[in-house]
Amino acid sequence: MVKNTFTYNAIRGNDMADNQKTEPRDMTQFLKQLKQSSDFKTIQLSIGDKQLSISYFKTLIDEKLLQSHVILPLQERALDLDFRQLEDLKTWIPIEDIEMTGQVESIQAKLLKGCAVATLDKEFCKYALIELASIEGLRKNNDTENEFSVVGPKVGFVESIDTNIGLLRAQINIPTLVVKEILVGTTSKTRVAIIYIDGVTNKRNVKTVEQRLEQIDYDVIFDTSQLDQFISDNSLTPFPLFLSTERRDRVVYALITGQVAVVSDGSPYFITGPSTLFDFFLSPEDYYLPWILGSFFRMIRIFGVIFSLFATSMYIAITTFHYEVIPRDLLEPLIFSRRNVPFPPLLEVLFLEITIEFLREAGARLPTKIGQTLGIVGGIVIGQATVLAGLTSNILVIIVAFSALASFATPIYKMSNAIRFLRFPMIFASSIWGALGLFIGIGFLLVHLTRLTSLGMPYLVPIHPLRVRDLKDSFIRPSYQFTNKRPSYLRPDSSVKYKPGKVKRKNDLDRE
């Protein structure tokens, strides 16, 4: 953490001078700057004896709104002599958000966010800011595209922050849902919202997020996941320290358990924190299925992660060093499949793993339909061909395919990327010292995980520090009967979520 703030502060210090240059000293200089752009328009209207000029960026505002709500009512009163001062506009124009100001900075900020600036010819220091922002160019479709679930809602977020917050409010119908907005980014001035539930979320977490966001000095915020990196506790880690999601149910769930959510304008992704390692292996679907099934699938997912992390490195360890471990029935197929391979197992594994990574990257960049074809071509044709050419053993093809498959079971994309990456150090470690090397790698991984924190909260909680009571919703998804309390490691202001009624099970035999 400390390291991060230092670096960002340093950037801030250097850029301070540059920033100052873009801030105009007065209005005339500012207008002169603006007139260089061709989409900056100024129209003149005469009302009574006064000249009113309205300036705006054509591209930022809704022009229909301008004509029907501003120009039309003003033209109707063209001969009205009552018009004495700028404030009168408020009563004439049917738009509620009109601000009077004389400050250049706020004019600049608002103008660039889609306001029109109205001013009277004689009154130089007074400007009316009329909110006319257009929302065109944003997608309407808000299906969850990347975090799909079969059961449950498919409502996702879009690129507009207001829509997103609206979606949230629609589901959290209480007045204590607080949305705090700040501007981040020296060039983009992106609106970033910090969302939490008052009386549930620990205030310290909110304050930490707020402070860290305010400390950010960066030019353009493209996506919330950038904020994720700026405010994370440790930048030297492959693990995501905040959960980022485009699903509404996930964010709502995070908020009601007492986490803070952050979203920036222009991004369909929310980040929620503080997160634990386990949060990344939960899928909302676990909660929509009966708890027995939910728990089973969750355990499958956790097993999948472990498998995809260690399967290929285990193969290397066993085939290169510990042949004793191979059960005798597997010995023959294994030796036979490796008989024609001229490389040591390390190269063989690297070759296949990298092929898989190529396929993934290519598949992700290509349009969906071509991507699918590529997957099939890559998986079947290349796999078959490499085995026939004697570059790899066919048992390894199966292992690599399995581990690739298993890594897709992680519901959060960032986490599955981390696991993709971590496979490689494990492969190298086990190719040097076999199983011992593998466990040295695991040792580093475990120590690294225990050292990580998310917003100051240990990343491995509830395993370490051990919180036995919170362990219930980690490996298994318990019945709703038992999930009525918020996890204590988040230190929520109030811990009870709901009060389940007592269940008394009676079987038919008792009743008869």
């Binding site: 510990h322 011992l436 475990l446 995980l449 225990t450």
Partner: protein, 337 residues
């Protein structure tokens, strides 16, 4: 790992009584430790207690001895494990690079402070608890309960001697001398400490009795790593010879032990001599790696661990009760005033 062989040296197959005996003594020691650490106000680690009891100079001398004892302990743990690797996994490998990498891992763990040190210990505990269950169920067909009988055929002195050997396995409780200030609720933690000690004793007892039923006495004397040989009998569908995996799995446990010892030593250096922990950490790790490189033969390792275990026994059975007495006397003397 090898204690089964060591404890039967004197008491034979009655050694399980020694294990229980040692367990009880350990409970007593934990109680003493808590009493020592909680009874002097504003000094709740051994360094300041030594200062108060024995004066600055003598106290610091003792502190230095304790610190070196911890480093020595870490070294013995490390070297004994390396020996095992050498015999089972890589008989002819150059061990310097492995030691350096492991030293780096320890550095990474210890420099994370108390949190990451306890974190790795939690993992180690989980691993050892999980690995014990299949051990019991899979050895079941090979157990001969008759081996345990007759119940008492060794003299009390033999059993006591064995329980002295057993103390080696319990070395590590003394880290409490440094951990105590970091414990948030000492009263509650004492209950936990006793509980864990009970659990550990039961665990040792269980493994010991398993080994007794698995091997005959003479066979056990010929087996250097009984636990590994026991695991070697298992066969699961995808793997056979599980001992090869078990040795590697033990690595996590070993790392946890070494990290705690080194952490305690660094902490001691910091409190007693105001040295930067990072500096002492680097020095200790370099020393351990270098020593490991130069001590290579099995006999020296045996001897070194023998020395360590003797020192440890004196530390536990003589030094701690002595400090306990001093603290109690001091308390009595100061009270009237």
């Amino acid at each position: 790992m090898t204690y089964q062989r060591r404890v039967i040296e004197h008491a034979g197959y009655n050694a399980w009584i020694s294990v229980m005996l040692t367990g009880i003594i350990m409970h007593l020691l934990i109680w003493m430790l808590y009493k020592i650490l909680s009874s002097i106000e504003d000094s709740n680690d051994i360094v300041t207690i030594n200062h108060k009891l024995f004066g600055k100079l003598l106290g610091n001398l003792i502190n230095l001895a304790i610190v070196l004892y911890f480093v020595f302990g870490a070294f013995v743990k490390f070297k004994v494990y390396m020996e095992m690797i050498q015999v089972w996994l890589f008989p002819s490998m150059n061990f310097l690079p492995v030691s350096i990498v492991i030293a780096l891992l320890v550095y990474y763990a210890v420099s994370g402070g108390i949190r990451s040190v306890t974190g790795i210990s939690v993992w180690a505990t989980i691993i050892s608890l999980v690995s014990i269950i299949p051990q019991i169920s899979l050895t079941f067909p090979f157990l001969h309960p008759m081996n345990l009988l007759p119940l008492l055929n060794h003299s009390a002195s033999d059993i006591l001697l064995s329980s002295k050997d057993m103390a080696f396995e319990y070395l590590g409780v003394e880290t409490l001398l440094f951990l105590y200030p970091f414990v948030r609720t000492p009263e509650k933690s004492q209950k936990w400490a006793h509980f864990i000690m009970l659990l550990v004793t039961l665990l040792y007892l269980m493994i010991l009795i398993l080994a007794f039923m698995f091997f005959t006495e003479e066979q056990l004397r010929h087996t250097i790593w009984p636990t590994l040989n026991m695991i070697g009998i298992f066969e699961v569908p995808l793997l056979q010879r599980l001992e090869y995996m078990a040795i590697s799995l033990w690595f996590i446990k070993i790392i946890a032990g070494i990290s705690i010892f080194i952490w305690a030593a660094c902490r001691g250096m910091k409190v007693a001599f105001h040295l930067r922990p990072r500096l002492s950490l680097i020095v200790f790790l370099t020393a351990i790696t270098a020593l490991c490189h130069f001590i290579i033969d099995h006999r020296t390792v045996e001897r070194v661990s023998e020395i360590y275990s003797n020192i440890g026994v004196y530390f536990l059975y003589a030094y701690i009760p002595f400090v306990f007495l001093c603290v109690m006397i001091r308390k009595k003397l100061i009270k009237p005033i």
